[in-house]
């Protein structure tokens, strides 16, 4: 299967930030959620994808084209929306729709009208009167109605109220039904990533901590509660990411081979009270705090 996105050993240095040897692939038709705290490198990664930044070393390919050299061909097939993107405030949404339509031959007017209704947007309103939620939805409309092969969304749901968030996620889920369309989106909101993604990638301080199929990834992580361990901090077990002790109760987080870890704990005389799967949010926090690279 061809990769929609391919980063190979990409490095980019800024005075306060270093994107360290990023290698990442997104197979065509897949949805990748890019997770990381502020300053992790998500936006830099997306700007590299749009050819707006030249890497210091390494290579970036999108839809089979090298960046930034072939950025015009690439951007003709990408729909990109970011949190820091604004429309012209004195123009109406209708004007913006006409403007984008003049650029993209694939513009789907019927779908655009459908999105206007679904997102409850007024096309003839000047965008300076839009709320944050309306602005995000209008931006998505302009991206989705051009029917791109690759959708790149930087924080699409940040700052949205629950209703607007639900509308956006539903429409995203709808466009993701197209098996040829690939999506890369970043979010602080791990629930959104968990809901939509096929693949999860963690960025932290410019490094890719992990990138894997969501189901396999979630299945790997376990939280084990047990008693009978005198010094949890001194435990040395394969895949142990974090160990916390509160009196006699130990909380252990494993990122691989949980069955093996449980068996080993039993051998050490621990009484296991629970072995729980973890939400992406809990995994995210544990991974970031421990700086785990798998």
């Amino acid at each position: 299967m061809q990769n929609a996105i391919e980063f190979q050993n990409v490095c980019k240095r800024y005075p306060e930030f270093y994107l360290d040897n990023l290698s990442l692939q997104l197979p065509q038709g897949q949805i990748m959620g890019l997770v990381g705290v502020n300053g992790a490198g998500k936006s830099t990664t997306m700007r590299l994808l749009m050819g707006l930044i030249q890497p210091d070393s390494g290579s970036v390919s999108v839809l089979g084209c090298k960046l930034p050299a072939q950025q015009v061909a690439v951007k003709a097939q990408i729909g990109y929306a970011s949190d820091d993107m604004r429309m012209y405030k004195n123009e109406t949404l209708r004007w913006h729709m006409g403007f984008i339509q003049s650029v993209y031959g694939n513009w789907d007017s019927r779908y655009a009208e459908h999105l206007l209704t679904v997102f409850d947007l007024k096309a003839d309103q000047k965008t300076k009167g839009f709320s944050h939620g309306q602005r995000v939805k209008a931006g998505l409309l302009l991206v989705l109605a051009r029917r791109p092969k690759l959708v790149v969304l930087d924080e699409p749901t940040t700052g949205l109220d629950p209703v607007a968030r639900e509308e956006v996620l539903t429409e995203l889920a709808e466009i993701l039904r197209n098996e040829e369309r690939s999506v890369l989106f970043s979010s602080h909101n791990t629930q959104d990533v968990e809901q939509l993604s096929d693949t999860i990638s963690f960025l932290h301080k410019g490094k890719l901590l992990d990138s894997q199929d969501k189901e396999i990834y979630l299945d790997r992580w376990r939280r084990v509660l047990c008693t009978g361990i005198s010094n949890a901090a001194a435990l040395s077990l394969p895949g142990l990411v974090r160990a916390k002790q509160n009196g006699s109760l130990c909380e252990l987080v494993f990122n691989r081979n949980p069955e093996h870890a449980v068996a080993r704990l039993n051998e050490l005389g621990a009484q296991i009270s629970s072995v729980e799967p973890m939400s992406l949010e809990k995994i995210f926090v544990a991974a970031v705090k421990s700086g785990v690279h798998v």
Binding site: Q71, K75, Y80, S82, M87
Partner: protein, 226 residues
């Protein structure tokens, strides 16, 4: 690196800038033509009209650079434009053509109207070389501020450049009129194009070309556009 320009999209971006700037242009054009109506009314009207005219052209240039280049970054519409199938060089070319045409068209109309006023009124035509030198200087101010805007991407630096270049209008007028070959013919019935007058225009043209070329040079070297 692909050096071909995306001409169809450049045209769309130029049309977009014309559309967005249309009201500003109309306002400054009306201001400029209003100033012209004063010029032939008498001595004080001449000075008032000239001051208004220069102010209108300075205002047009500064307003345009601020709203078209500085605000595009400040108000985050640049990421919207750069998400389109366009390279930073396409963007620069589109901005060059859009901004230059947006300034040159009203600038030419006002300059031409000024010359017509000189020809059809008792104001001596000897003023024409000085007027053209100042007119070209206003264009130079615009081009230098434009290039600084594209290179520096900084609002503060652009504003400083605008203020600095516009403050030089007085000293430039003073310096030019120190040349007797220019000042001695100001009251003449016909325009006299001395070597100094032509030289002043040529030097300004060279500075304009250098300023624009430096914008292209820096744009080609940029590794981070946003």
């Amino acid at each position: 690196m692909n050096h071909g320009l995306n001409t169809p999209l450049i045209k769309i971006l130029i049309a977009k800038d014309w559309h967005i700037q249309r009201k500003n242009i109309a306002i400054y054009m009306v201001g400029g033509l209003l100033a012209l109506s004063f010029i032939s009314g008498g001595e004080w009207q001449f000075f008032m009209g000239t001051t208004l005219l220069i102010s209108a052209l300075i205002g047009l240039g500064n307003h345009q650079i601020t709203s078209s280049i500085v605000n595009e970054r400040k108000e985050h519409t640049l990421p919207f434009i750069m998400s389109l199938p366009v390279t930073p060089m396409d963007y620069l070319v589109a901005k060059l053509i859009a901004n230059m045409s947006l300034f040159i068209v009203p600038w030419l109309i006002v300059c031409a109207a000024t010359l017509v006023v000189f020809w059809i009124t008792p104001i001596p035509n000897g003023f024409i070389p000085l007027t053209v030198i100042i007119g070209v200087y206003l264009f130079l101010c615009y081009c230098v501020s434009w290039s600084v805007g594209m290179i520096s991407e900084s609002e503060a630096v652009v504003i400083f450049t605008m203020v600095f270049t516009n403050c030089l209008i007085g000293p430039i007028m003073y310096t030019v009129t120190r040349f007797s070959s220019i000042s001695s013919h100001i009251a003449a019935a016909e325009a006299v194009w001395s070597i100094e007058a032509v030289g002043a225009i040529v030097i300004q043209a060279v500075i304009i070309l250098l300023a624009l070329a430096s914008a292209f040079y820096w744009q080609a070297r940029k590794k981070t556009f946003l």
